[in-house]
Amino acid sequence: MQHSSSKSSLARRIAVGLVTASTIVALAGCATAGSGTASGPTEITLSMQNPDVKTADPATWAIVQAFEKANPDITVTVSGEAVAEHLQKLSIAAQSDTLPDIFWVYKSTAVDMQKAGKLLDLAPVLDELGLTDKFPASTVSNFSTDKVIFGVPYQGLLTGLWYNKKVLADNGLDVPVTFDDLINVAKTLSAKGITTISNGANQSSFSVWSFLVDLDRFGYQDKIQGILAGTEKYNNADFLRLYQHIAELRDAGAFASNVSTQTYQQAVDQFTGGNAAMLDAGVWASSAIQDAGIDAGFWAGPQFSDGVGDQKIVMNVASAPFAVAAKVGDNAAKLAAVKKFIAFYYSDEAQQLLVDNGQPPVTTYAPQVDATKQGALKAALDTATAPGVTSPETQPDLIVSTAVASAMYDSIYGVIQAQLTPQAALELVQKAFDAQ
């Protein structure tokens, strides 16, 4: 009996010893992981608005790969979810102070996070790296509050309407210039059962880029500060004319009958399959268009005879930014790694990688574009740099809260899908502004 008791006591001691040893090893592992010491690489985390960054965002993936190759002492752990899930995860992480080191986020959310002290002020970092002057001035001001820079541009947002040259030519149509031209194109194609503008509202209500550009053709940039301050209204006579034009396009049969049930990706497929004359999208679609072998051009959108101000506008701005978690500033090794990543991301090498993967550069870098392999991208870049063309500072939905942006998308799709009258659509957005 005593023998058995001493045996079990020995077994217990061995078990306790093993548990203690494994705990020490695990804790040691925790101490080194992520923080970076002389014994291992420093890890930085990059969280994106995309569930499959490697496939769906090859430009970012290529930059991360090139960065890790150039910096073997740093590893970048990339993760991602669809936009809503990504934002949800960020909110929880911000609340529990576990934000990823670098992450994509809407500007309005970044502003709120910055106010809540969750973000690192990037102004000193950009100054130290000599990057501030590499960005267009509008980009820096767009991601600044007072003297704090809370974000750096993720990718360029060059949006408009891709058009299939063959579909237009086969139907005896020229590339439209004015809104009246576009209406004529829609009427002609609709009579033959061809969709003029391919877009999809299902799970992608934000896919109204070309209409957001149109808002700028009706004086959005001049009005928005007044609207935000409450001295002007979104439901004004100028915007009403634009929404009436959207209704005219709908009545001319410009949109697919299943616009409310098809997703953005299905809209792209509709265009690349040759079943639509135009695609409402941006430069990010150039690779898909190129791969589909479509002979496509890029149109900045219609000019309106009853518009407000400059009509030769192309939306060529910085997209939603990358932000850096404030806690990165508390860890010297991590901060150094993040600085290296930022320096690399905006180097000419990385900007060329963006271009090689179908994205425009976000710095002032002049890219090398192979016209034979990247005809679609070149068409978009040529449109953006055409003589006499100007760009607003930012896209209309990026300077309002997510709730207002959602209302803007709903208002546009509401008219496209004949669910809202132009006046009701404007009131929907105004109500969202008022709720702020």
């Binding site: 709120d112 509202a201 899908q417």
Partner: protein, 289 residues
């Protein structure tokens, strides 16, 4: 013999379940109720605003639309699904060739993830590329806006919900039918009851509890419908096909208005509880009567 009826023993035995229930059910509900009284975007400090979120919902047409859609789906589902699944259970209880295979087939949709069910039915109901409209076009009938319009979408969601839930409900009824006492059924047959009379006066009354269980499960499941709507229409056009839960998701996670989203969540919880308890009370009254 050890008696377990002493108070402390009851507390010890019920305690673990009570703690788990409190942590995973009561606490989140109370937590949500608290946030529903705040303006909160998911981080930072919530600002207490009283009942403003609830008042704003009263003035939100999309909320009322989503409530209306949920009620339509609830009514259509309960009215059709309960008798249909009971009828199927009666049918499949009979000894027919391939009965077991048919039961498995009917139960099949219940084991498919709702998100996949939504995906499958998009290709059936889509007004342009959907199978039904293609078949209709073949016989010269113009396309119907099954989903994506503002009239038929909630009914289409109900139909898909019925399709996906009928096997589950049928299985519960089938199990209930299997345990009906044979002697009672036999006695009613000997008394000369016809098949219909046996069903009306013996089977259905004896299965009242099963009916209540199925109805409660369906009611709570209807109040949880999200993935079907998300895949079929994304709530569109312009929230016309949102249910309460899909609209709550939109408000909370897309618009990042956690306070308003939690207010909708509280309303869903309360409504679900009211409808379920109401049904139970009604069935009990009928039983007593």
């Amino acid at each position: 013999m050890v008696w377990i009826s002493s108070r402390w023993k009851i507390v010890v035995m019920v305690g673990p379940a009570l703690i788990l229930f409190s942590v995973f059910v009561v606490y989140p509900v109370v937590y949500s109720m608290g946030f529903s009284l705040t303006k909160f975007q998911g981080f930072g400090t919530p600002e207490f605003i009283g009942f403003k979120n609830y008042l704003a919902l009263a003035d939100d047409p999309f909320f009322w639309q989503s409530l209306q859609n949920t009620i339509i789906i609830l009514v259509v589902s309960i009215v059709l699904l309960v008798p249909l699944s009971f009828g199927l259970a009666l049918l499949l209880r009979r000894k027919i060739p391939g009965g077991a295979g048919m039961r498995a087939l009917v139960f099949g949709p219940a084991i498919i993830a709702p998100i996949l069910i939504g995906l499958i039915w998009v290709f059936i109901l889509d007004p342009k590329i959907g199978l039904i409209n293609r078949l209709l076009a073949g016989i010269g009938i113009p396309p119907v806006q099954w989903i994506g319009g503002d009239i038929l979408t909630p009914y289409a969601v109900s139909a898909v919900f019925i399709w996906s839930s009928i096997g589950f409900a049928m299985t519960i009824f089938y199990a209930g039918l299997q345990v009906l006492p044979e002697d009672v059924m036999e006695a009613s047959s000997l008394d000369g009851a016809t098949g219909w009379q046996q069903l009306r006066y013996v089977t259905v009354p004896m299965m009242r509890e099963t009916f209540a269980i199925v109805a409660i499960l369906l009611i709570t499941n209807v109040f949880k419908i999200f993935e079907l709507v998300y895949m079929l229409t994304g709530g569109g056009p312009v929230h016309r096909s949102d249910t309460l839960v899909s609209y709550m998701y939109f408000v909370t996670f897309t618009n990042q208005q956690y306070g308003s989203g939690m207010a909708i969540a509280v309303i869903v919880t309360v409504l679900s509880a009211i409808v379920s308890i109401g049904y139970l009370v009604l069935s009990r009254e009928r039983k007593i009567a």
